[in-house]
Chain length 374, copies 2
C-alpha cells in the first residue's frame, strides 16, 4: 500500500510521530467528566497523542487539572454552547456557532488536528461535518463505518452505513462498498477484503429492487475496487467469517448495530446471573476469572467504540453517546490509528479513482428506475 | 379474557383436549430426519398432541416406525413434491400441487388440524398460506411474529414483522401493533402489553416518513387496541424491558432477528472458547456446569424457534430452515400452546373490531401522502 494522491482535502498535519486529536468534550450522556477521563486513559497509554479539546474553558481546565500530566498535552478551545441529543440537525446548523461540536470540527478543517472525536448527537455531527469539511468529490452520501466483533482472523468486520443517512440507493451502496473496502484494507490490513450486501436472504431474487441493482453494480466493481464480492449476506453473517465488509443503508445498519450490542449485553448479563446463582458457581467463577475477563474484553462494545465518517474531506470519529471513559478512550485510540496510517489520503485517492464508475452507475440507475426529475 | 366471536375462519376442531398439528416434514435444511425426531420429542413430552404429517409416504413411515409410540399418533399424507429454499414464491404458487408444504396448509384449511408447522422456504409458505387460508377480513399485509429473549418478566418480547413482507406502510404498522398486542395478551398472558415502534432513535423527528405517521396512528389506537404505546424504540431495546411488542417492517425485522441470533451464537462460542482455555478454567466450567447449562437454555435460539403467521384465517408456525430436532420440537410446542389457547378466534375478533379504524387510517394516509392511483 504505497498509493498517495493529490486530493482536494484541507491542509493536514504531517503523518508519523505525534498526532493531534480534536475532542468535543460536551454532548455525550455522561458529560465532560467521562470524556476527560477517557482522554487521560489514552494519554497515559500513548505518548504520541496530543489534544485540542472543546467546551467551557473553566469547567474543562478544572477537570483536566485533576488528571496528572494531561494539561501539558491539551489545548483548550473555549466553547460555551452544547449540541444536545434532542437537537434536530436543522436547528443545529442554524445555531452551531459557539458550540463545542462545531469548534471540534473546525480544528480538523483548519488543520490544527488530524481527526475529531465527539460523543454528541450523530445527526448533528454528520450535518456539521458535511457543511464544514464537505463531501469528497464523487461522494453522494457519506457513511458511518463501524467495527463489529466477528469470527474473522482480524476479529472484526466493518459495517456501513451505521446511520449517517436513513436512505441509500444502488449507486450509494456501491460507493459504500468501495469506501468500506478501503477502510478494511487500511484499518484492518486486508489486501483484498470480502464485501457482502445485507439482505433478507442470500438468493438473487430476494429483497428490494435497489438491493438487486446494487448487487449487479458491486459485482461489476470487484476488480477496479480491489475487493472480492461475496454476494448477499444476512443478519446472521454480521459477526461471521463470510465477509469483511458489510454494506447496507443507514436505517438497517443502525438497527442491526444496536440490536447486536443489546443482545451481547443481554447474554453478558445472563452470564453474570448464572455465575451468581450458587456458592459452587461463584467459586467456579473465581477459578475462571481470567477466562471470563478475556471473554468480557472480546464482547465489550466499549472496546470497539467509534463510528468513522467516510466520504468527507477530513476524518471524524463518532463515539457512542453513552460512552464512559473506557469507551471514549477506545474511540480516541481508533482516531489515532487512522490519523497515523494516512487513511484519509488513501480513501480520497480510491474514491477519486472510482468516481467515474459510480457516476456511470448513477446515470444508468436513474434512467432504469425512471426517477428523473421532470 | 373471555371474548369470543363469530369469525369467517374455516371450520376448526374444538378447543381443549388433544390438538392435531399438521407438520410439513420436508423443505428444512436437515430434511425429514430432524422433523420426525422433533415430533417424537414433542409427542413424548405431551400426550395431548397428535399429528398429520406430510411428505413421501414410504420415507416418512420408515422414519416414524423407528420412534417408539409415534406411529399411533401420526397420520401420513403422501406428498411427493418438495418446495426448496431456492424456489421463488411465484414458481411455488404455480407448481404447489402435490408438495408437502401445500398439503400441510390444506390440513388446516379443511379443518383436520388446528395449526400447521413447516421448516420450509418462508416466502413460499407465506404465499401458499395466503392463497389457501386467505387474509382475515381487514388485514392488508399478514405478518410473522417471533419471540425474542428479553429482560421482561415473561422472558420474551414479541417482534413483528420478522419477514413476511419487505414493505410496510403506516396503516400496516398500526395493524401489526394490534395483532402483536393480541398475541402478547394471549401467548404471554399480558393484560395490557406495551408496544414500541422500531426506529433509529427515540426522538419524534427521527426516521422515515411512514414511521412518523405510524407513530401517530399507533398512539391514537392505544385505548381501543387495549395496549400501552411506549413510542419509538431502538435496536438495543429488542431484548430490553422497555416494550413487550416491537413493531417494524419485515425487512428490518428479518435483519434484526438474524443479527440478534448470530450475535448470541458468537458470544456463546466465545464463552466455550474461554472455558476451554486452560486446565483451571476447564475445572471451573465443570463446577459451573449447572449454571452454564441454565445460561445456554436461556440464550439458545432453538428454544424460541417458531415465527407465527398473523392475519390469516388459520394458524401457521414457520420453524427455522436450519432447525434440528430440538428446534422443531420448540416450534411444535408453540403451535400446541396457540391452538389450545384459542388464540386464532380471539385475534380474528380483535382484528374485526379494529378494522374500521385501520381503514380510516389508510384513507387518511393515502390522501396525506398523495399515493392515490390515477
Amino acid at each position: 500500500m504505497t498509493q498517495t494522491a493529490d486530493t482536494e482535502a484541507p491542509r493536514r498535519p504531517a503523518q508519523g510521530g505525534s498526532v493531534v486529536i480534536s475532542v468535543d468534550a460536551m454532548g455525550g450522556d455522561s458529560g465532560p467528566v467521562a470524556v476527560i477521563a477517557g482522554m487521560a486513559q489514552s494519554a497515559e497509554k500513548n505518548p504520541d497523542i496530543r489534544f485540542v479539546v472543546h467546551g467551557p474553558e473553566a469547567e474543562l481546565s478544572k477537570l483536566i487539572a485533576r488528571k496528572r500530566g494531561l494539561a501539558e498535552r491539551c489545548e483548550i478551545r473555549d466553547a460555551q454552547g452544547v449540541v444536545t441529543m434532542n437537537d434536530k440537525p436543522g436547528q443545529v446548523i442554524r445555531n452551531a456557532q459557539g458550540t463545542s461540536m462545531l469548534s471540534a470540527v473546525e480544528s480538523v478543517r483548519n488543520g490544527e488536528a488530524s481527526i475529531a472525536v465527539s460523543c454528541g448527537n450523530t445527526g448533528a455531527l454528520m450535518a456539521l461535518s458535511m457543511i464544514r469539511l464537505r463531501k469528497l468529490p464523487g461522494v453522494n452520501r457519506p457513511a458511518i463505518a463501524c467495527l463489529w466483533p466477528s469470527r474473522n482472523a482480524q476479529g472484526f468486520n466493518v459495517m456501513l452505513d451505521c446511520g449517517a443517512d436513513i436512505r441509500a440507493d444502488a449507486p450509494d451502496l456501491l460507493q459504500y462498498a468501495l469506501m468500506g473496502a478501503a477502510y478494511a484494507r487500511n484499518g484492518l490490513d486486508l489486501a483484498r477484503p470480502r464485501v457482502g450486501l445485507l439482505n433478507v436472504g442470500t438468493e438473487e431474487h430476494k429483497g428490494r429492487a435497489e438491493l438487486r441493482q446494487a448487487h449487479e453494480l458491486i459485482q461489476a466493481a470487484q476488480e477496479t475496487g480491489n475487493f472480492e464480492y461475496v454476494g448477499f449476506v444476512e443478519g446472521g453473517d454480521l459477526p461471521s467469517n463470510r465477509a469483511d465488509v458489510i454494506v447496507t443503508d443507514g436505517f438497517t445498519g443502525n438497527v442491526a448495530l444496536k440490536t447486536g450490542e443489546g443482545t451481547a449485553k443481554l447474554v453478558g448479563d445472563f452470564l453474570k446471573e448464572a455465575f451468581a446463582n450458587s456458592l459452587m458457581s461463584k467459586f467456579a467463577a473465581l477459578l475462571a476469572l481470567t477466562s471470563l475477563k478475556r471473554l468480557q474484553k472480546r464482547i465489550d462494545p466499549r472496546r470497539v467504540n467509534g463510528g468513522v465518517f467516510l466520504g468527507l474531506n477530513g476524518m471524524v470519529v463518532k463515539s457512542h453517546g453513552s460512552a464512559d471513559a473506557t469507551g471514549v478512550s477506545a474511540a480516541i485510540k481508533l482516531a489515532f490509528q487512522l490519523a497515523q496510517s494516512g487513511f484519509q489520503d488513501r480513501l480520497a485517492a480510491r474514491v477519486a479513482e472510482a468516481a467515474a464508475n459510480v457516476e456511470e452507475a448513477r446515470a444508468i440507475n436513474i434512467s432504469s428506475t425512471d426517477e428523473v426529475a421532470s
